[in-house]
């Protein structure tokens, strides 16, 4: 996968149009899931995915094949998602530590528990446990300090455990 990605990135860098589609197919699934844990609605995720790939396309000739393109892509996407949250849910964006929207039908206890987390905590949780991303990469993507990321993870775990154990 890594070798394939590196080859594709090199082709994208050299200006091969079809290679960009291949890069999309190699990276979109992980990106989609990451964004979903953050935004929790498919419509918002699709909007952000489009915006993120457009931005990536605009800088495709500057991509360095040794650079971690997936991390770079997710960094772009997280920034886009933050802006989207701020625009569409200004109140939630401002006090996102405490307030969580219930805009989507909750299916299952885990989903409910995730929805009770703040978007930022949820994102860190999704990146760490869902995508197996290292703390350092999460810090790069979110621009947050290591201590903050760890606190978010700890808080998210406690909250999930609470909901799963006690249903509240």
């Amino acid at each position: 996968m890594d070798n394939e990605l590196r080859t594709v990135v090199t082709r994208v860098h050299s200006g091969e149009e079809a290679a960009f589609d291949e890069l999309y197919h190699l990276t979109v699934r992980q990106l989609y899931r990451t964004l979903y844990t953050y935004l929790m609605t498919r419509q918002d995720v699709e909007d952000v995915v489009q915006e993120a790939y457009l931005k990536l396309y605009q800088v495709r000739r500057k991509l360095d094949d040794t650079r971690s393109v997936p991390v770079y892509l997710r960094t772009i996407a997280i920034n886009c998602a933050r802006r989207k949250l701020r625009r569409s849910h200004p109140v939630r964006a401002l006090i996102e530590e405490d307030d969580v929207s219930d805009t989507e039908l909750v299916k299952g206890v885990v989903r409910e528990a995730l929805q009770q987390l703040s978007p930022a905590d949820r994102l860190v949780m999704g990146l760490f446990y869902g995508d197996q991303t290292s703390i350092q990469d999460i810090c790069r993507m979110t621009g947050e300090k290591e201590g903050t990321v760890k606190s978010r993870l700890s808080r998210a775990r406690e909250r999930l455990r609470e909901v799963i154990d006690h249903g509240t």
Binding site: R33, R42, E46, L54, Y57, V110
Partner: protein, 376 residues
Amino acid sequence: MEHNDREYTDMLNNELKDIEPGAGLHNKVRAGIAANAVHMRRRNTALGAVVIAVVLTMGLSAVTPVFGRNGTLPQVITAMAAERQAKKMSKTLGTAPIQQTGTALQTSVTTVQAVNDSTLSETDGVLALVIANKSGTPVADVLKLRTDGLGWGRIMAQLNVSGRDIGKAMSQVKAAAKTKGQGENPKPAVSNTDGTKIVVNGEITGVSTTIITVDGKSFVIGAATQLKYQGKPITTAEITAKLLTGKLYATVQGTKQADTTLLANLIIVQDEATSEQATPSNEQTNPSNEQTNPSNEQAAVSNDQQVRGKVTVVTATVLHVDGFANDIILNADTKVEQVGAGRMNIAAIKVGQTVQVHVILSGTTYTAQQVHIEDK
């Protein structure tokens, strides 16, 4: 913190297992990229059009006064540069930049006063003085062009003054200001710096035994005040009598007193306004109260003598030179010549110029036979 907390990983993976990008998302991404490409093409086209329009406008404006009274683009640019220099100079000079500029450029106090009396800002005033000085044009003409609404660039082009001329003049002013700051000014200021001396040209609008009003300024006539008419003493009663028959004009050289009143030292009464009286208010000030000129050689036994010094007052008929206490009469027989310019007329004599005058004493009247202007 490790990823061995499988419970959470499994929990999340289980929850997100159905979360997959839709089949149409790739098409949407591609459509977004295509739309952006079109948008960028349009933006670049519009940008190109704007650039072409700007280039064409600039090309056109270089030869056509597209900026109206501000002139062509080069003239506008020149004006901006000149104004920037003048502004900087005003800031550097600090207090009274117009006076300091006049001093540095050896401009007559009348000229400086004309600029001061105009509605121009200090920056514009400095520029007006410099342009007048460099073009050899009376400042009144420069002020008129400006009040007519012409931009400085256009005025400079009209008077054949380049940006380089302005730069040189500014350097001259700067150097003079620096020298003055060191107390080593080799050329004493023509215009005022201490503000105690004042010279006013204008119509006499009132006179009594103790007060004379010229051009709206009232001067106290003291015991030491000299009143002259055609080189001879005149009394206030005679002036009053003459005023009954028509207008009278005067050049008054006075001193500001501590109580802000003006004491007249010398009043030269004339039948006609001098050319400098065309300016609404010709209040002039002179930095030096000292009227000494050791170089003036007055031949005690001869009727001929040479007087050398700076012109403190000049009218069409009377000349006053710093250090020489008497009126020097100018008449049609007076030859005037200037270094580098040759034969001139009396109008070429300006306040502040250094002159050497060949004077003939006849009775009590000193008449200038020849005036040699040493300033170019």
